[in-house]
């Protein structure tokens, strides 16, 4: 608990120091929003013309988009620094982290704050409000609880994927560049129902880079379309579990990497 308290304080200080530059802060937030808005406008404009894709209506695809954006927004708001962990390792800044009496990962996450996440999550919440209007959900307490778990699980999935890739930096110097690939999957492939992909990609997006659990699988539960869920209807409820297991895996890998760390040369 004490750790979380410290984490919160450091993060708040990070936000405050960024707010020092008012206009820059607003610009960063807007950028976060605009990047996501671009893919939203794309999907919306095309589906407004074509009405549906692979049996999913515009409204349903929009809901899949919304679920991903909520999870992605939480990830960006809290953990986005994980994406540049490989940089700290390569520059040798990591030495300082190891000397301090706080979990190294928590330190890196709060090293500097990127306000863009506020824009990501902000747009996610707006989209959720719109999706609610369009689809007329009946929110029961268990459904709301499940929604929170799905968002947390999705957030953990994205965090774990980036942690796994960036931990590679302890072995490979170019690891940071691979981040681009994960981004393509989590930013683009996760936006659409998995039905549109071939068997190989469906397998990949379910078991290897499980971004399907951020949006598509839980969406089948909320939209009452579990008869269509790929592989097994049970997958619709697996997001929180997948998030936890993947994070445990990523964190163990990270521990292995730290123990191997030998600082940069000279």
């Amino acid at each position: 608990m004490h750790r979380l308290w410290v984490l919160g304080l450091v993060m708040l200080a990070g936000i405050k120091s960024r707010m020092e530059y008012r206009l820059d802060f607003i610009l960063q937030v807007t950028m976060g929003l605009v990047w996501n808005l671009a893919s939203l406008v794309f999907i919306w404009a095309v589906l407004a013309r074509f009405r549906s894709m692979a049996g999913w209506s515009l409204e349903e695809v929009f809901f899949i988009y919304t679920l991903r954006l909520l999870a992605h927004g939480c990830y960006c708001l809290l953990f986005k620094n994980v994406q540049i962990v490989s940089r700290y390792v390569r520059w040798g800044d990591f030495d300082r982290v190891l000397l301090r009496p706080l979990n190294p990962l928590l330190q890196l996450i709060t090293w500097e704050y990127d306000p863009a996440g506020i824009g990501d999550l902000g747009l996610g919440l707006i989209c959720f409000a719109v999706a609610n209007r369009l689809l007329e959900f009946h929110w029961t307490p268990p459904a709301i609880a499940f929604l929170f778990l799905v968002v947390i699980g999705g957030c953990l999935i994205e965090l774990s994927l980036f942690l796994l890739i960036n931990t590679l930096a302890f072995w490979i110097t170019e690891a940071g560049r691979l981040t681009q690939f994960i981004l393509t999957f989590s930013d683009q492939f996760a936006l659409y129902p998995l039905d549109i992909y071939n068997a190989l990609l469906q397998f990949l997006l379910t078991f290897l880079v499980p971004v399907g659990f951020m949006s598509y699988y839980p969406a089948t539960a909320f939209l009452n379309r579990m008869e269509d869920t790929l592989f097994s209807p049970a997958f619709a409820y697996l997001t929180p579990l997948v998030g936890l297991v993947l994070f445990a895996l990523a964190y163990s890998f990270w521990r292995v990497g730290i123990n191997r760390y030998q600082s940069t040369g000279s």
Binding site: T30, M31, F50, M53, F181, Y192, D195, Y197, L201
Partner: protein
Amino acid sequence: MNLRGYLKLAQAPFQMMLAYRTATLIECLGVVLRIYLMRIFWTAVYGGGAAVEGITLPMMVTYATLSNIQGLITSSYVHWFVQHRVRDGSIVIELLRPYGFLRSLLAWSIGDSLLWGGLMAIFTLAASLPFVNLHPPASLMAGLVYLASLILAIGVNFFLTTIVGLIAFWTLEITAFNTIFFFLSMFLSGGLIPLWFLPPWVRRIAELLPFQSLAHLPLSIYIGKIGGTAMGIALFKQAAWIGVLSVVVWLIWKAAERKVIVQGG
């Protein structure tokens, strides 16, 4: 400065990018992945249905694939180049050099597009072919006119990005303007969604702006949606925009020259 000097400048970005081979290779593979995703996306959206607005699925896949590949050629980062020079004050050195700053930017940009962009485009095209069915141009004539139109698109894009870059002389910071530019050119160029699929009011706005020269016009020529004399009109529109935008750039530049602020003592 004579032409030889500018030719040397045009080779500079090529040599610079060679230093970042891995990064460039990964960028190309990223584009291949996006091309593949776009094929899947449009196939799902068409869902076996007939042509929409006279565009069949194979035409659409060809359009989207080529749009991504030619994006590697038409894209430019001169605006960041200008912002950087203005911010750290080295713009003064640029102004002292024995050649025109704008002309040097143009030489740099053309070299970047044709040499490096061309190489990336060929590599990306070769790597994408196993995943997509890229149709040949509608006719030999369409293919040739497409190439001419692509060259003009590089020109239009150069002047548009230079305008964004020159704003740095007044604001020192162009991120916000670049975001607006990015958004406008993404949707009004037709590069992401063909303009025929957009609501009529968006299409009418796009007709009046230079952005459609970047993707919509060349790509429509390639797939044969614009044919015959309409091809000539399309080329004329692009050339006219280059004329208008070059005057705008020149006027802004004249004002900017008097506005140079050098940081430090």
